[in-house]
Symmetry: C2
Subunit: 189 residues, 2 copies
DNA sequence: CGGTCTCTTGACGGAGTTCAAAGCTAGTGG
DNA sequence: CCACTAGCTTTGAACTCCGTCAAGAGACCG
């Protein structure tokens, strides 16, 4: 049931079967259909999500009413609105299934408990957040150095299979431009 | 000597004097004049830096030859080119002192050792990277939802004292536009 | 097959860039 | 402590990348 997560954790630290059992008692798993919401703006983000299979996206609605996708999570990535999750404040973000998605869930009221009972998971999550921060540094660099067309071409070369999986309007906002403009870029080839 | 860091760590976890001594043996401290480089593009980033006093910035030179500042670090923040630091690969970034700056340094060859000898620091760095990732989420949201002028006005309201500390051309690139345009925004008031 | 998303296309407009030149400021050495 | 200089900021005109709006064509799901 939680094997995908255990396998992922074991890439970084060795977790005994006892520890796995304790962890299992603090997790939930859940499945969402395409377009289902795991979390909606206006609510408090109750959980941190690990994607077993499928794809989630984090987005908000800007002042003009347009959806802005700020993050994707595919297999073996964690996703949450951290500000809302950590401080249990009202969120501006939505978390939605971009495909039919299976997740493993840590709810907020178990988050601290996990680290109390399984202090060795501190290392695992230190490495996870380290990697997320590293990914953000790279992302910001691309945003600051490339034109819209270059970001699209570059993303397409780096993640050709992922581009096939999601609608173009999600990709357009993730790359920082409009769906119309993406359409025009594609027409130029 | 390392008191600023110990104080910061103690906000999150309790570190015994013994542990402080072990940690001290793995740290260095250092001071840089304004404009001095802690790390330059083309080299491998050898350290993770904690700012005791002053201000550092992380930037790269884009294809047109313009400096793009992607991150600042002031008192009690950590900064590094993580991709280069973690994998000891050649870096595209510079780390420069925006003011005269005192830092505490963890060099790469001690980074893993710190966690082996002081596993409780895993929690501290888990929380540090969690916070950095949370800051990135907020930053990306601002970049995707506001015009250049709004980002400037907003940043100015949130961090008025910080804006005084740095040259405008650094702030302009951090906010994602040119120094000329920043100047025009300011003229409009 | 009907309706609702999603993608495309084109005309127009505007936010922000580029380039160049001049004005200002702050650090440095004499 | 002043003068010089290099670096930073301002200004303006021309330009361009990308957004906006609107209308139509496809695609997908029930």
């Amino acid at each position: 049931m939680y094997n995908a997560l255990f396998a992922h954790i074991n890439r970084f630290i060795d977790l005994s079967t006892d520890e796995q059992d304790i962890l299992a008692s603090l997790l939930k798993s859940s499945s969402y259909k395409k377009k289902a919401y795991l979390h909606e703006a206006g609510e408090t983000c109750r959980a941190n999500y690990f994607v077993v299979k499928g794809c989630l996206r984090l987005y908000f609605i800007d002042i003009k009413g347009a959806e802005q996708t700020t993050q994707f999570a595919i297999e073996n990535w964690w996703i949450s609105d951290l500000t809302s999750f950590l401080f249990q404040k009202t969120s501006d973000f939505y978390i939605q299934a971009a495909e039919a998605t299976d997740v493993i869930v840590i709810e907020h009221h178990h988050y601290d408990e996990i680290f109390e009972k399984l202090p060795r998971l501190e290392k695992y999550f230190r490495l996870i957040f380290q990697k997320l921060h590293q990914a953000s540094q790279i992302r910001i660099k691309y945003l600051y150095s490339q034109t819209a067309e270059e970001r699209y071409t570059n993303f397409n070369t780096l993640f050709p299979e992922f581009v096939q999986r999601i609608p173009q309007y999600m990709l357009a906002s993730y790359l920082g431009f409009t769906p119309e403009f993406l359409s025009k870029i594609r027409a130029r080839k």
